[in-house]
Symmetry: C2
Subunit: 336 residues, 2 copies
Amino acid sequence: MKIEKTSEAQLIERIHRILGPAAEPGLRIGMGDDAAVIRARPGSDWVVSTDAFLEDIHFLLRLHPPAMVGYKALARATSDLAAMGARPRYFLMNLALPRACPAKWFDSFLRGMAQAARNFGMVLAGGDTTYSKRLAINLTVIGEVSPNRALLRSGARPGNLIYVSGVLGQAAAGLTLLRRGGQQPPQARSFLRRHLRPEPRLALGAWLAQHGRATAAIDISDGLSTDLTHLCVASKVGARIWSDKIPVPKLPPGLKLRQDPLELALNGGDDYELLFTVSRDSARRLPRTLGGLRVSVIGEVTREKQILLMDPAGTTRQVQPGGWDPFRTREARGKT
Amino acid sequence: MKIEKTSEAQLIERIHRILGPAAEPGLRIGMGDDAAVIRARPGSDWVVSTDAFLEDIHFLLRLHPPAMVGYKALARATSDLAAMGARPRYFLMNLALPRACPAKWFDSFLRGMAQAARNFGMVLAGGDTTYSKRLAINLTVIGEVSPNRALLRSGARPGNLIYVSGVLGQAAAGLTLLRRGGQQPPQARSFLRRHLRPEPRLALGAWLAQHGRATAAIDISDGLSTDLTHLCVASKVGARIWSDKIPVPKLPPGLKLRQDPLELALNGGDDYELLFTVSRDSARRLPRTLGGLRVSVIGEVTREKQILLMDPAGTTRQVQPGGWDPFRTREARGKT
């Protein structure tokens, strides 16, 4: 059966069956009415973000399995809540589906998204469906945070240390492997997984918000070079980062990736690690792992409004935002 | 200058300049961070809805002026808040723009949307931009309502009277006139306006929520036949409506519309009037106009789960949902 054969009502039934409805005390009215009605816990602010995940721009149907498209759509959107230190609660989904979408593909897509929703503790609260030549997934994610605890991009101060979580560039290496196709060697698995099934750093974000240790934070969706630029522009500062401190991927020779790990880390994007700044005073009391996640100091915030990359020999070069920009990147990169 | 020449950052600057940022006490963090942070007034629930407004599905670039596309995108989405009796507060916009979109078109689009935002009392709180072959506007609207006061689709009971606001079918007549093209006669103006610049019935919705007079409510976006079906399904009831009581458009002969006014009212859609049910007891105390808006009794809720249309001679026929369904309608109807 293809979507073409179904009415909007039947499509919504499919969504209800696989993605909900779940009983959730704060969700007074969920799917099936004109809008969702949600009740705040006393003493918390709402954090709201929207994200578009579009066929041929952010993912390719021939390359990406449906369950991964569903999982990643929600993971990407929820990463913005992690970057604010918020606890995810609800999401709404606007789906534009091609008429020829096979029902099997659609169910698998929904199951992938349902898995992500369970992992992140989120409930589908509403949405809208229509048809379109290309599949388009527009998500609204809603989380909560204690008042005045949200992690902002704008608080970095000269002298602060710059941290990142995890390893940067693995997702970009995974995309290269996926595009190459064929049988994937076992060493490819972790890279593919990082590209196909990213994990928003919710525990780390919540820890930073709760303990008030970060002066600024952002998630790395477009690449370190671009997202560090965003953070610096918002904070009206610059940065100096050290090439040998950036946690770059170890590319096993057997994979024949022939990519520069540092280049992948700077411009690869799609990692959804957190980039944050901490005062030197707070840094002394910061554990090396937060919520099981390794964090690395990669540089420091400067007064000069430029981003410099320094190698161990002391040579510096200016870093330009080289990551994902939908209005500059000519081709769809399949950047899921 | 075309959008192609701009980076995402420049595009966002354009949006900031025309659509905000506005100072608003509840909006703790607005555009420019990973997510918006909003603070509820004590003792109110949030009402959240999302709406897609897509080129070639909901509007046509050759037919619809950019300011109208911007205005209508927000009006349509906000109509869902009116249907819940909520007061609009914020919106987020996901824009997928064609590279070749002229900057002049885009500015005019943004100004139309800014006008709607001012009219409805809303502030842009965030969003996302990317590019796409076709223009796609996905909006998230956020309003507030007193706890347990939201108007739901599900409360209609047998014996309740069925009301609609305003006149149904004018927007559909306006679309016909617009498609015909050429010089529009002065009598066409009100129909065109209803199609191009619909008004969400916010004052009526708020009145009904505040006074607790409606047992169920929905906005008529897809057509009376379809939206009455939605309300009846949600309430597990049926309806009997009287053809001579439905407020149909008066089509001046000079316009040569040759359309059946009743057919327009039943299936035209795009009116954004409110359809609501009221107990007979409450109905006695209901003014004929609410917030300057005429309301009409058009039928009654029945136990039998079907929708019957009765003419003055007493002949009845069953009404099928004949309005807009994106998965059944073959052609893009330019249904803005």
